[in-house]
Amino acid sequence: MCECCGNGQKDIYLPQMATITKHRMLNGTEFYMHLELDSGKELGHTPGQFVEVSIAGLGEAPISISSSPTQKGFELVVRNVGSLTKAIHKLTAGQKVGIRGPFGSVYPVELAKGRDLVFICGGIGLVPQRSFIRYVLDNRKDYGKVTVLVGTKCYDMRLFREELAMWQERKDMTLMETVDESHDCWDGNVGVVTTLIPKIESDLPKSLVLVCGPPVMYKFVLMALSEAEAPAKNIYVNLERRMKCGVGKCGHCQINNLYVCQDGPVFRWSDLTAVPEAI
């Protein structure tokens, strides 16, 4: 029996409240927050999933979960693109947002065990990928070589800088970073993220490759991966669409026959060959 609607079914549109425990700006547009559900329960997500975040009165938006389920609470990164996200940016510790979810498909955390993993992240694509990367690092012995490629448009927009610096130091993973535009403070790689693909040391045809980035990135990355003979069945993409309801009803996130909010956001690339709207 459900308290909210008086019958056996819960209201799929009713958010639960969560409280912000920590927050900071990651760059000029990206706001990071750590949250805990007011129910005291854990969110119970698997890397790759998203939640619908709302401030009642301003609306609701799909946001990728950036933290690993191995830690307490959960973390979200919100880009300032509209009224809702602008209002989220103004929130401080102790304030609340509504949360629905977690929704959607997950990264292949089990299947990936024992395999070499290559994460290719473009811009805010690092945000959902970080959930799986941290999960892998927390269960490091279960996985093979870990390579993380991070491409950012410009130096000032780099996300999770301290964390990237820590990853850079680790001996049990390889981080390669690049920025699209050169900058006085940057002496690393310059160029789009695809330029890093030939530098990958893992055996690409045998690795699992996880890709997330802006819409324009996929075509080029997938082309480069194909040239490097990474098979489509080993590639996973994490797609963004207008996931309005999150529960496979409203139709906004559809790519051909698939609902990104339910069948995705994580797709095996070989499952998308007959889905021309995907990329």
């Binding site: 009165g57 301003l58 609306g59 509209g82 009224s83 809702l84 602008k86 209002a87």
Partner: protein
């Protein structure tokens, strides 16, 4: 929280849109309760130069009005264009179809050259200064205006439809005016009016301006299917569509 200070100004217009605000009746009290109206010639005698939100009705038709709107813009944090004259130039733009000398002599006769009658081509507000929000329509839809104000007070981007009038018209179960062979502008005009004209048995006159990407090519071909000519459509677009946006 201090209430935002609101000033309402009018330029070349019939003031009918301000009247729509007054006509909100019960809601006007809610509105007055949430904002501090510091200047509104149609409803009060006080004036002020200190305001956050400027609401502008009317179009710009004289050089001195350009200066006035620039001053208002410099004082306001948010500038809202109210009604078709302000958002698209409105009916006033009809005169842009003629030479200004002809217009002046036709309207003012032998007084046409008097300095206080010095008028030029009509401009919408955003042809002079940046406009933050537009409340479309001739006249405005009071309910839409109220929703826009509430959204702004919450710091939220107001919802203004980007789809054609047909959406609202169909929802109201009107019979399409085209079924009566009447060239209705609904398919290319922005919704938000709740399809008032088609609901009353008239075609859409186009007072809210075009949608972002009107399919003008379609309009040109579809008119043929109905045995009408392009001129039948053009003449119906003159009233609000003169020298504005896509032309057929």
């Amino acid at each position: 929280m201090t209430k935002p200070r609101v000033a309402i100004f009018d330029f070349a217009c019939c003031e009918g849109c301000q009247l729509q605000i007054v006509n909100l009746e019960e809601e006007i009290l809610d509105l007055i309760g949430t904002v501090d109206v510091v200047e509104w010639r149609e409803a009060m005698s006080e004036q002020s130069h200190d305001y956050d939100i400027a609401i502008i009705e009317g179009s710009i038709t004289r050089l001195e009005d350009e200066k006035r709107i620039e001053i208002i813009r410099s004082r306001a944090k948010i500038l809202i264009a109210l009604g078709a004259c302000a958002t698209i130039g409105g009916v006033n733009k009809l005169k842009n179809n003629f030479s200004i000398t002809d217009v002046k002599s036709c309207v003012y006769g032998k007084h046409a050259d008097m300095p206080h009658l010095d008028t030029y081509y009509t401009k919408a507000i955003d042809e002079i200064v940046p406009v933050d929000f537009k409340v479309h329509g001739c006249p405005i839809n009071g309910r839409e205006f109220a929703a826009i104000v509430r959204a702004l007070l919450l710091g939220k981007k107001p919802f203004v439809p980007d789809y054609p009038v047909c959406v609202e018209c169909k929802a109201l179960e009107n019979v399409c005016r085209w079924e009566y062979n009447e060239p209705c502008l609904g398919p290319i005009i922005r919704a938000g009016c709740e399809a008032k004209c088609p609901s009353a048995g008239y075609r859409c006159f186009g007072c809210r301006g075009y949608v972002d990407h009107p399919n003008v090519d379609a309009a040109r071909e579809v008119i043929d299917k109905y045995g009408l000519s392009l001129d039948d459509l053009r003449t119906r677009m003159v009233l609000f569509g003169s020298k504005q946006g896509p032309t057929l």
